[in-house]
Amino acid sequence: MSRPFPYAYISCPCADTPVPDPARKRRSKETSHKTNPEDPNVPVPEDYDFEDERTFDPRSPRSNFSLYPPEQLLYCEDCHQIKCPRCITEEIVCWFCPNCLFETPSSMVRSEGNRCARNCFNCPICTAPLAVTTLENVTGGGSQQGPWVLSCGYCMWTTLDIGVKFDKPTNIRTQLSKMTDSSRGRQMSKTFSDLKSPLSTYSSIDDQFPSPNEIRGDEASPINEQLSGPLNPEARFQALKGFYKSQIASTSSSPNDPLADFGAGFSSPGALNRIMSLYTSSSRLGSLYGGTSKKPKSKPPVMREALTASEGLRVPAPDAENALIRRMASDDCGWDGMASLEQRTFQSPDARFVEDLLPLPVLLRTKRSKRCKSCKHILVKPEFKPQSTRFRIRLIALSYIPLPTLKPLVPSPFAGLPSTTPTTAPNLDSLSPLRTVQFLLTLKNHMFDPVRVTLATPSVTPGRVASKVTILCPQFDIGANSDVWDEALQGSAAPGDARASRSGTLGSTEKVAEAGKVWDKGRNWTTVVLEVVPGSLPGGGGVTRRGRMKQHDDGSNDDDDNDDSDADSDANANALDWSGQTKDPNQRLQPDEDVLEIPVFVRMEWDSENQIDQEQSVGKGQNSDTVKRELAYWMVLGVGRISSEMGF
């Protein structure tokens, strides 16, 4: 897993419920030709009941999509539900450049693209940010004049490598865009408005269609080439886009033409519907004759392709490819002179060599507000300014659900415990199998109401590596997150002690974990002990494991059952071998199968005060000042990695 042990992930319940997204709605609309699509929320409860029966398996492929670190989760106060990044929608609050942290108005983003328009560039070689530096090292205090370049502090690339210098250190973006045209032998910088020849607006093909002779003349004559000039890629794209737009508009202009519909939504899925309606209407009305009689009259005009440079056509020189190959093969290019695929993805499609690479204006980033997908309430609303880290609204799950932290319990050597227990902190990256480890699970309440928590965990973890888990005190209360001073004023010595015991390193030395008792308790947190017997890995001899398991728990029926079910799940795991290493699934350990993850079902109950959500209680018709609430979810505790050695 991505985090160091021990960690705690929380499963968003949305993984079990179908997400009511608009795409799904549309699909259901299309498949069932009904006017009212079925409400996607209807089947939810049934699914839920079904899912409730199961134990959450942290190793199932679906779990990947529902487990989140606690700080990434939000909480919707109206749905009373945890919200993960999949069950929210986002709205952009502002755009800003991550380098200069200046905001870009969204209108400018729309017109100019989402790149920084100032001096922020990324190195085309290594993507590190470029700095504006002067070429002249003026040692005195004189004003820094002279040419400026962009230089990379990481790979030492400068714009001098592509022969670009700047006259002033500001407005590099505009300087560069002017220069890229001129520096590549393009005499005039052209914007789209410049290139718009009056021809391109003509709607009729015949007006625009040049005779074949003309075309040939265009290509051949160098004078014409110079006049119209090859465009830079952006302008060419704009020209092509404008050209095809006009083509679509012109070909569908005649009102009788059934293809007229295409003009608006040529690329929209609605076009299909219109075609279908075309067929159905013609057959139903029986206007077959009418249709045929109309057809020769209004022959749909043919769309043509771009023919001139002003329309965006670019005819490469006849030997362009050969020249490229020759250049690649030449000694002064070599491998280092070629642009890598990764570098080329951000450049114009013609860039083949390192010399063709241009500095990349920094992509903008956004600040986003977040809404609940089902009830549309705002969950997160950051402040508008890009530099601010404050939020106007921030409903994070951590203010509602208890924050879980897991720590190994290290009994002190003086406690007179049996010699088998380790006296140092267990190495979580290699837990020895079949040796009991105790953990302290602390749940810290951030709500202003006391919470009653019930924890449940399968006594044997799902999967092939069956570890036994016992929560010594599965039901307990956590105090309210009241005034911090209450704790501080209770006594000067007490908090330090409490913290020490919570952290699990020291604390009261004689303390031994007892079943049914909480380990420790503070103002708004409670610690319970979790006893874990890591299972042995399949490669490390299953027979001994079986024997030992039997030894370990000599006999209650419950445990035997678990062992049996464990065997069943073993068989399942063998049948379903996803790793592709099918040689001997019994011997081979699948990736991360040795990671000991414990699914824990958390159910919390609390009486929420009416002041928090008054309208809710009124809606429920309750007259008491408190509303009983409950919330249940799965969480996964990543305890450690089981080593293959027994380690005795």
């Binding site: 989140y68 670190p69 606690p70 700080e71 990434q72 989760l73 939000l74 800003f96 991550p98 380098n99 200069c100 942290l101 190195c123 290594c126 993507t127 590190a128 940010p129 700095a131 090292n137 003026v138 040692t139 005195g140 205090g141 820094q144 990379c152 502090g153 990481y154 790979c155 980033r365 977040k370 997160v380 890009p386 530099q387 880290t389 939020f391 921030r394 994070i396 799950a397 951590l398 924050l403 932290t405 006296t423 140092t424 810290k444 951030h446 913290r499 020490a500 952290s503 390193t505 020291l506």
Partner: protein, 201 residues
Amino acid sequence: MPPKVAKGEYIETDTGNKISRRSQIHGTQHIILGGKTVIQGEAVIRGDLYRTSTSSSASGDQTGQQPATATPSVAITIGRYSYISKQAVLRPPSRLHRGVHSFYPLKIGDHVFVGERAVVEAASVGNHVHVGKDAVIGSMAILKDFAYVLDGAVVAPGMVVPSWCVVGGAPARIVGEVGEGYGVEGAEGGMARERYRLVGR
């Protein structure tokens, strides 16, 4: 059994800084610690690399007296509850300015974690910043509040990492964002007090 760390490993100052005796701190008079900062063993803090181009005399006061001149001689400022792990190196950033190579102050905010063997030459590191182990923060880089540098990342010189952004790789790029709950006390990014408490016990 591995021997326990000797009891006197950390020196605790009046303001609660816990400084390992095995750390290498140069130029202490140019370093300001905000209090409750942890500096672990073999960490290197180069307070001796302060700006010398001006004639202003270095102030010999450790407790944060800012000289009235335009160029303060403070080389490194570290806020509260920050944590400098083992073998981390803090160096003030430097730059060639008008032909003169000069150092600039390194400012580190509160609740900052600097991982093992990390090298920090940033111009400023905001609050609640996490610098992973083996990471390198290039000269004059700026890490804004709640920035998160992954282990082994190389933040290029002069790079700006915006708030809430996760950067990784060499050279570092923005690869994601931390959740909204990042930095909440006790959760990921809010463990600074807990970390401080555990030191030297």
